[in-house]
Amino acid sequence: MDFTTLLGSAVEALTLNKLRTALATLGIVIGIGSVIALVSLGQASQKSVESQIQSLGSNLLTVIPGASSSTGGVRGAAGSLTTLTYADAQAIQNSGQVPDVSLVSPELSRRAQVTSGKNNSNVQVVGVVPAYEEVHNISMQSGNFVTQQDVDGMSKVAVIGPQVASDLYGDNSDAIGKTIRISGQSFRVIGVTVSKGGSGFFNQDDIVFIPLLTAQKQIFGESYLSDITLQAKSADVMTAAENEVGYLLLSRHKISNPAQADFTIQSQNDILGAATQVTGTFTALLSGIAAISLLVGGIGIMNIMLVTVTERTREIGLRKSLGAKKKIVIAQFLAESIILTFTGGILGMLLGSTLSFVLSKIISLPFVVSLSSVGLAMGVSAGIGILFGWYPAQKAANLSPIEALRYE
């Protein structure tokens, strides 16, 4: 029996009961549609998280005080430990033992109350050095970033994020030259940064930068750092840079056993990996739920095919008595179920893509429909046709022609 005849008779059989065919297909449409929509959504959020982390700067290593949690022992809250100093940062910069690091940005970050006239805002205040601008991809909307003279001279100057600018001065007024008060002390605004987007884990626009030494000595009154961000010369030397920094700091802190280090070095890839893993798990969870609806759709197909086999017992008996071999009967019924699921798969793909497009517009995520998820959905839908069509087809093929012809 040739392929076109087989396909033709399958389509004919399916069009005999259009409503039933449509309802059976709908189960697959919803199943495939939700798989595609949720997988795309997951991939989109993964992409968005990745690009957000990339926007923090490239080839970054972050040294934070305190041991990594895996070594056990007492662990203080992030940023509260006091093991990193400005001298450590200067040593990394100047010792010559860390050739693979190009930029060193020691940072002290705390929340503080910032006021200007009657306006008042609680924001992240970061003590920085000039390297911060390049390491963290800061762009200036107006004015300049903190200079080395500002740091060395403990100037009371501030660079503010666009969110702070609009909170304190309204949207369009130029903040440069204005005075803001941070923890009661007056600072002159010398620059406003370009918005980096405020979504994600923290708002990168609701932030105030002041010279590091000013922050340490005049605002927060401490000589420690919350972290040192380092930029490696290239992505290839990240590991080398990490090791060099590790050795230098261990020797400076007089620690011989690396397992007892009082600092932790995180590479950007670690953070990216962790974030990707979280969104990946999330995506897998959502897809799992969607897959259940696909399974239910498949069972619906099986149900319909079983009903069809029972209804068409006489027809099957006739076909067998006229010489249809088992595999032809199987092929006929499998063709019907595969057409059902494959059509459902195509419609579901369209539905899922539309759905994820609309959703990505609503929650402003990138729109991603990967070829692999489409291919997977098509493969899975055809596979479901075979899987759930197999038993009914077998049942049909094994009917005895005598019994089948006698069946009323």
Binding site: T5, E12, R314, S321, G323, A324, K325, K327, P401, I402
Partner: protein, 237 residues
């Protein structure tokens, strides 16, 4: 050599504790070109005999040669092949595919027999013209009368040019005038040299055959040419 040779055929149904003997050691032969009616009351085993001759079922014991080919313990698929090539079925209930054109119905055995598409359409048209339905090629089963449907079924039974035509109560669902038309077609076919085996319980219909085999309780009680006294006695039974 006979077209059909049955030697000591028996069929025993074993339903749990009870053994039912449907056919008990039946032997006979049918030559090419014969027109045989198999008669008998219900429960006489004539349906079982038809199933065995039609390769729909296999005997419990005995040998059955169809056109020189042993239809013994063959697999389902091999039996399907034999039915396709050697036997043309005509059923009481016509058994056409519903909502399918006459042409496609006649083409169906050729689809299973692997005949090429243009050849099967040509042959199906010829056969439908032969049974007088040249103007009904694209009518579906439900658009045809019972007699017309049975003529489509006869055209279908001839499509693979089988060794025998096996008709099971071919006029059972038809009015008598239509039944006569169908029997006329069978007689024509027989005159053209086709071998026809017909199961019936109606003596009027059986009279069209040249040979009549009467079964009772799974045994042949009479095997004779069509015009004898026993048959007349059998009438109106």
């Amino acid at each position: 050599m006979d077209m059909i040779e049955l030697n000591n055929i028996s069929k025993i149904y074993n339903t749990g504790t009870v053994e039912t003997v449907a056919l008990a050691n039946i032997s006979f032969g049918i030559k090419k070109g014969e027109f045989v009616a198999i008669m008998g009351p219900s429960g006489s085993g004539k349906s079982t005999l038809m199933h065995i001759i039609g390769a729909l079922d296999v005997p419990t014991n005995g040998t059955y040669l169809l056109d020189g080919e042993a239809v013994g313990k063959l697999s389902d698929d091999d039996l399907a092949g034999i039915r396709n090539r050697k036997i043309g079925f005509v059923f009481q209930a016509f058994n056409l595919l519903p909502r399918t054109t006459a042409l496609k119905n006649v083409m169906l055995p050729m689809v299973y027999g692997g005949v090429e598409e243009d050849k099967r359409e040509k042959r199906a048209k010829e056969l439908l013209e032969m049974v007088g339905l040249g103007d009904r090629l694209y009518h579906t089963s439900s658009q045809l009368s019972g007699g017309q449907q049975q003529r489509v079924a006869i055209a279908r039974s001839l499509s693979m040019n089988p060794s025998i035509i096996l008709a099971d109560e071919p006029t059972g669902n038809l009015a008598s005038t239509q039944g006569e038309e169908i029997m006329a077609i069978f007689q024509d076919l027989n005159e053209q040299g086709h071998t026809i085996i017909m199961i019936t319980h109606e003596p009027d219909i059986a009279e069209h055959a040249k040979r009549i085999i009467i079964l009772r309780d799974g045994k042949i009680v009479e095997d004779s040419d069509g015009h004898n006294q026993r048959l007349v006695n059998h009438k109106r039974r």
